[in-house]
């Protein structure tokens, strides 16, 4: 078991180093630091200003270790990223780490309820559809799912803001307030849109899981014992389907910290999604680089944790 955990951790660490290398290729060689400086300062900036900018942002070194072993950007990039020293934003010179800390709260206040509400909506619906499998209700349900999946998220957002925010005036179109009494009013619309735009794909996924479980031997046994169809659905199918459902949820948890780019930017929630949106608009390469790294790190962490816990529970996983 110890060997398995070590191997898995080592592989995870290797993938982190790989991600960092890809990021270096993208953000330092495909776009050279001089290009970033030009974009930050404008095309007409004098060469001296570019030099000063490069020095201030720590870009004034050769790229590769074989050019200068002690002072090069590759090692510097690895050292800074691995010690979470993310440096300054390329756009407005503010420390990136401060913005991440400030943005995590608002992001989580959106994504955590979104995950919970999404599951509360999708699982009962898909149980219902799976219960009526191969009837018109099932076919209707699948058709509605495909219909819901075919609408662009942009249209859901614009439609909800227009209909509920502007015409009916039930909830504010956008905005945010950390006050717990006001917060639900601001989150209502993004949560509604998030749940609706995700529900088609979710119901289809859970339906497949439930159908797979309802073809198993233990379901047949339960039916032979005389268990009712409803009891089979809730006690035998749902219980066993919890394993793949939990896997999906556990893998989604790391991404909760990243927020939602679309929802946050449209609804004015000052989380990490909005931060990335601003970074894209302002050609802020260092923020973008950091966010891709943080996202990957969270994902790898989640995956390694899942694999190790599987290995703890299921000895078959360890053998491979």
């Amino acid at each position: 078991m110890g060997a398995y955990v070590l191997r898995r951790l080592a592989y995870g660490a290797g993938v982190v180093l790989g991600v960092l290398f890809l990021l270096f290729l993208l953000f330092f060689t495909v776009t050279a630091p001089e290009d970033i400086a030009r974009k930050a300062l404008g095309d007409k900036a004098p060469p001296e200003a570019v030099e000063i900018w490069l020095t201030n942002h720590g870009y004034d070194r050769p790229l590769w270790p074989w050019q200068d072993w002690d002072e090069n950007l590759l090692f510097d990039h690895y050292r800074r990223m691995l010690t979470f020293d993310f440096g300054l934003s390329d756009a407005d010179d503010s420390p990136i780490i401060d913005r991440i800390k400030a943005g995590m709260g608002p992001s989580l206040s959106l994504t955590v309820p979104l995950l919970v509400l999404g599951m509360l909506a999708a699982i009962p619906l898909s149980l219902l559809v799976a219960f009526f499998r191969e009837t018109y209700i099932d076919r209707m349900g699948v058709f509605l799912c495909v219909l819901a999946m075919s609408v662009s998220t942009l249209l859901y957002i614009i439609g909800a803001q227009f209909l509920i925010g502007k015409v009916l005036r039930w909830y504010p179109i956008s905005g945010f307030d950390a006050n717990l009494l006001l917060l639900p009013r601001f989150l209502a619309l993004p949560l509604l849109v998030g749940v609706i735009s995700g529900i088609g794909g979710d119901v289809r996924f859970y339906r497949t899981v439930f159908l797979e479980e309802s073809g198993r031997d233990f379901v047949r046994t339960a039916r032979a014992k005389g268990a009712g169809e409803v009891r089979i659905m809730t006690h035998h199918v749902l219980r066993n389907a919890l394993i793949p459902i939990l896997t999906r949820v556990v893998l989604a948890i790391p991404f909760l910290f990243m927020g939602s780019l679309l929802l946050e930017a449209f609804f004015g929630i000052p989380g990490l999604g909005s931060m990335m949106f601003d970074a894209i608009q302002a050609n802020d390469f260092s923020t973008m680089r950091t966010m891709v790294y943080v996202g990957s790190l969270l994902f790898i962490f989640g995956q390694v944790a899942t694999d190790i816990s599987y290995g703890l529970v299921d000895p078959r996983v360890r053998v491979e």
């Binding site: 790989g18 999946m149 609408v151 942009l154 996202g295 994902f299 790898i300």
Partner: protein, 343 residues
């Protein structure tokens, strides 16, 4: 591109695509497996297939362009610009400003229109016919889906089949590369790639391909691992058939159904991603995503200008719905796993 003018390049590509489609049709007709699959597909999703075909025809009509033949004084046309079939159908349809669907007068001010009652979806702020813009988006959408798949699928096959068939160091390398790419959040990686490569159709497609090839690579690697152990592949190897010939003769044909399924199922996702990219300001010019993004603020005008976003949203929705419906049927028809489930 390559010294050719863009419209000539587009014409050549159109001819290549049409001849490719004819070739594929002949192959499908010649082989019983594919012929029966095509027939089953036609029986199940006749309507959706027709809808997709209409979009393809519109896209082709916008891809064949030539110069000249423009009457003097046509509004909004440069004298020597190449115009496609679609452009020519809507020649001289331009107005001065907004007009509602089928209106005779302008929306604000009420000045009479040049073409009264001829704009079924109205015109946008620059006076361009909205139906024309919506139809023009078909080519862009098909280009995004098609070009991306044309880059991503061969890439995935090269690495996936190679890794699965040869194994060893190469397999380790490919597996590591896949895990690395898969662990980067795809929307962020997509945005990062476009930020770094610059904007434009080709770089958007390349970025979508780089983020999209991983899934199919994993699938084709796993499938190749299974196929290479099969008796007839072992027999071919024992008879001394070369590795390349085994791959092309015995492995790739057995992956063909997966290629088709992947192509159709990822298509709609690609077009929808482009809409998000357009909203971020890094999409492809002339796409429906850009129309939706541009029309976003017009809903807050008074009175409301709704036909712009309505038209773009509808054409996008109908294409995605049709492709999704076809995709599900393609999977049901071609995937042996679902076939087994039905028996």
């Amino acid at each position: 591109m390559m010294g050719l003018e863009p419209h000539i390049w587009s014409n050549v590509m159109t001819v290549l695509l049409v001849s490719g489609a004819i070739f594929v049709t002949r192959v499908v007709r010649g082989q019983r497996l594919w012929r029966e699959a095509a027939q089953a597909l036609w029986q199940r999703r006749r309507f959706a297939l027709v809808v997709v075909a209409v979009y393809v025809l519109i896209g082709l009509a916008d891809s064949v362009a030539w110069k000249g033949g423009v009457p003097e004084g046509a509004m909004g046309v440069l004298p020597n610009a190449p115009l496609s079939l679609l452009d020519r159908a809507f020649l001289d349809s331009r107005e001065a400003s907004y007009s509602a669907p089928f209106a005779d007068v302008e929306f604000y001010g009420g000045a009479p229109l040049r073409n009264p009652g001829k704009h079924p979806f109205g015109t946008d702020i620059l006076g361009r016919d909205v139906l024309y813009l919506a139809l023009k988006g078909a080519r862009v959408a098909l280009l995004i889906g098609g070009l991306t798949s044309l880059i991503a699928i061969p890439l995935a096959l090269l690495f996936g089949v190679g890794a699965g068939y040869f194994g060893g160091r190469f397999d380790d390398f490919v597996f590591f590369l896949i895990s690395t790419l898969a662990s980067m959040p795809s929307l962020l990686l997509l945005i990062a790639l476009i930020m770094v490569m610059g904007r434009g159709t080709v770089s958007v497609c390349v970025a979508l391909a780089v983020t999209g090839w991983v899934g199919f690579c994993r699938l084709s690697r796993a499938e190749t691992l299974k196929l290479r152990e099969l008796d007839y592949v072992q027999a071919a190897r024992a008879l001394g058939v070369s590795e390349t010939r085994i791959i092309f003769r015995h492995i790739l044909p057995n992956l063909a159904h997966l290629i088709v399924i992947t192509f159709v199922l990822t298509f709609s996702g690609l077009v929808l991603s482009e809409a998000v990219l357009s909203w971020l300001g890094i999409g492809v010019d002339g796409s429906w995503g850009q129309m939706i993004d541009g029309a976003r603020d017009e809903l807050s005008r008074e009175p409301i200008v709704w036909w712009n976003i309505g038209a773009a949203g509808t054409v996008l929705f109908v294409l995605i719905l049709a492709v999704n419906a076809v995709g599900d049927a393609v999977r049901d028809v071609l995937d042996p796993r679902t076939l087994r489930g039905q028996q």
